[in-house]
Symmetry: C3
């Protein structure tokens, strides 16, 4: 069967490439999140699932990533599916012999029912999807481009807690200029009404003017703040991000801003409410004090990691027509 | 059970090492290809197979190869089997601590029902087979030596299309001196009667005199040509190969001959017939114009890759006594 | 469910971290070895097992090890379980981005029912167990620290042969100073009465004074010998070990002692009895002449490797409450 490009239409995920959060309407997200709730129950049961029995999915990771790799592998195996796991294929024979990536993709689509692709280069997942004749492609991160399953798990984590994705007030902190996950989350929330986002970042790492205006035009209220003191009390969520060392040209520039804003027990005590959830896409390198981990509102280690697996279970089952 | 060396006898593949195409008689090939037809149907079904349920096969790849590795992994998992996947063991502790490869092999035969071995060194698969006490060894390529499952998939691709392996006329092009796959294919076809092969290659990469004479003695008609203009019209197949950069001592020598013969739409139009299939063992690096890919006679991307998986499914099932 | 630290109590392995041989009482070992006998039968059957169906176990190997890695992978898959396989995570993105290992562990415990950890650093497995909230941790070797499943397989190999672990006479040879496995075996045997161990090693590699005294205090008779000529005849077992090149600061110092004591056919003929088993934790690099391999008393290649898989099958089934 020929796989299908473009947006999800009328909630039909079958045989769809999943490349960007932009493919999803609010209705699609509701459908996906409802199934994710079911997947959560399946994963927590001792009884094995056979939903993907007989399915093989290739994990083709040009850029290694133990977290995302493990999450996809676990999602597939939780549903009784199998994987073909290829990491760093660029160092393997065929690719190093000068094979085009298009030919590599056609090899792996011959072996499997879907390909999960991770690459360093923005736009590579789209190119892979264009090269594949038959099987759907799932983007597991293309550099600073898209990482739709991460965005979906963030959205789902909000949905799971607050049971809605509109009328939310959140604080986004850290690297708002380069952070891929934060961009996706902002864009995702812009699909819904009456959301208010406080943006807290060092001057060098603020959301770009273009992005800022584009999101504002969609109806999200954006409030730039420069200090934790300007944070709202009792927000629905905090979304903290890592200042990415690899984006800086000098160590000094990085050191200057890296730990400007840190979640501490004190900050939580002063600004968080009882329903505020504290999120982080991980990995973190100091921007959340581990003393906060034990707080039940800290969902980054507890809920988010597992939610990533559940959402991938749901998404793959939908794409392969098994749900 | 002790595994068995040597040729397949009376079509009994059980517990046999598969090291070389030379172990197969035409009858063995017919048996294998008949089962491969069935495996093709199994793989195309949504229903999972349990033919290898409970079986574990070790993939021991001293030389990484994403294509062959993925094909074996997929073949095993398509049939409900499991793999132990070890890549680059020479960089791992035991081997780097000075363990002999014989001891390494004995370790993995204790864990699994068969070992698929890939190595850089000619003859290594035979040595591995000699070291193994119990389980059958499958050669997945030993340098420029043998790569029997690749040869079998090429033969099967011809059989699938023409329903016979005798009385065929083919063009073999590219590196006929070093090309492992082309040697195997020639040898395979020499088991059958009335085959005619046109050999088209740069002078530096012609079939060796010894090989040429040995094949001729077996009754294959060999016709050396120096230009595409001497190609026969309506051949049963074209088998194009890559000029392997790694065989040359200087870049200049490689550049001089690398793209001497290229399959273009024009060449196909002028020389191919409606039943000519265009084959290539992959990877390709320019010797077939991607514009040809869409031609239904171009089987290198479409049929050959999948056939590799089907033939490995059949072979492993036969060796493990499951078919 | 929260996983549990500390010793096994009343034979209850459920949800226990397995970090050290010290957690096991003789009764626990008897329970484990009885189940291991059953696992041996399961593995030897053609019929697949479903004991771990629906279970996912992460193999997190910071230090690659094809033997131990393969043994755990095979054990899990023999029982119908699935693995998430992460090798060299320190070279992967999250860890290389500065993530703490505690966060890495929390990621993988979210994906799986247990984590098998291998690391270069003594004590790291304990730290991993401390970091994990929910799932049990199995130590697959932490540098020169503990490697409990290796120790258990050695003990089981003795038990399998002699049907007891007390009143045994053994020869321990090679590197008794640094050899991790030999330390564990000595400690394991010290749980039982009336064991006598002859210690044969180059002066530079003798058991440390502290260790010697500690073991003696537990009631094991220790006899230091300096020559094969002082070995007892008809011992119950010989346990030979590799002199580890990586422990020496100069090649000369290594060369001087590396092959001081070698098991040869002559030595076996003169000193071994009909029930003496010859053991080695592998890899070996010359300290046992391959000519001895064919002797039925040489269990290092035959029984020990497989016993490692059986004991890991039993241990994982017990920890996950499936036996």
């Amino acid at each position: 069967m020929k796989k299908k490009a473009g947006n999800i239409i009328n909630g039909d995920f079958t045989n769809k490439d999943i490349l960007s959060l932009d493919q999803f309407s609010p209705n699609d997200l509701t459908k996906l999140f409802t199934l994710t709730n079911k997947m959560k129950k399946i994963a927590q049961k001792a009884k094995p699932s056979n939903i993907l029995a007989g399915n093989i999915i290739t994990l083709l990771f040009y850029e290694p990533s133990s977290r995302t790799f493990g999450s996809f592998a676990a999602a597939i195996k939780q549903l009784g599916g199998q994987t073909i796991e290829i990491q760093d294929p660029q160092h393997f024979s065929s690719v190093s012999k000068g094979e085009t990536f298009e030919d590599t993709i056609r090899v792996f689509e011959a072996y499997s029912d879907a390909i999960v692709i991770r690459d360093k280069t923005v736009g590579q997942a789209q190119k892979v999807a264009d090269a594949a004749f038959f099987v759907p492609i799932i983007n597991a991160g293309d550099g600073i481009g898209e990482h739709p399953t991460q965005a979906l798990l963030d959205m789902y984590t909000l949905y799971e807690k607050h049971n809605r994705l509109e009328g939310l007030t959140g604080v986004l902190a850290g690297d708002l200029l380069n952070g891929r996950t934060v961009h996706s989350l902002i864009r995702g929330l812009s699909l819904y009404k009456k959301n208010t986002l406080y943006l807290l970042s060092p001057k060098e790492l603020q959301l770009s003017k273009e992005e800022h205006n584009a999101i504002k035009a969609k109806g999200v209220e954006l409030i730039t703040i420069n200090s934790e003191k300007d944070m709202p009390k009792n927000a629905d969520f905090w979304y903290w991000t890592r200042v990415q060392k690899e984006r800086f040209t000098s160590v000094e520039a990085y050191e200057k801003v890296k730990n400007k804003f840190i979640v501490t027990e004190k900050l939580v005590k002063e600004y968080a409410g009882k329903d505020t959830i504290i999120m982080h896409p991980l990995p973190r390198v100091g921007e959340i004090d581990p003393a906060v981990d034990a707080d039940p509102r800290a969902v980054y280690l507890r809920n988010e990691i597992r939610n990533g697996m559940y959402i991938r279970m749901a998404l793959i089952a939908l794409i392969l027509g098994k749900a």
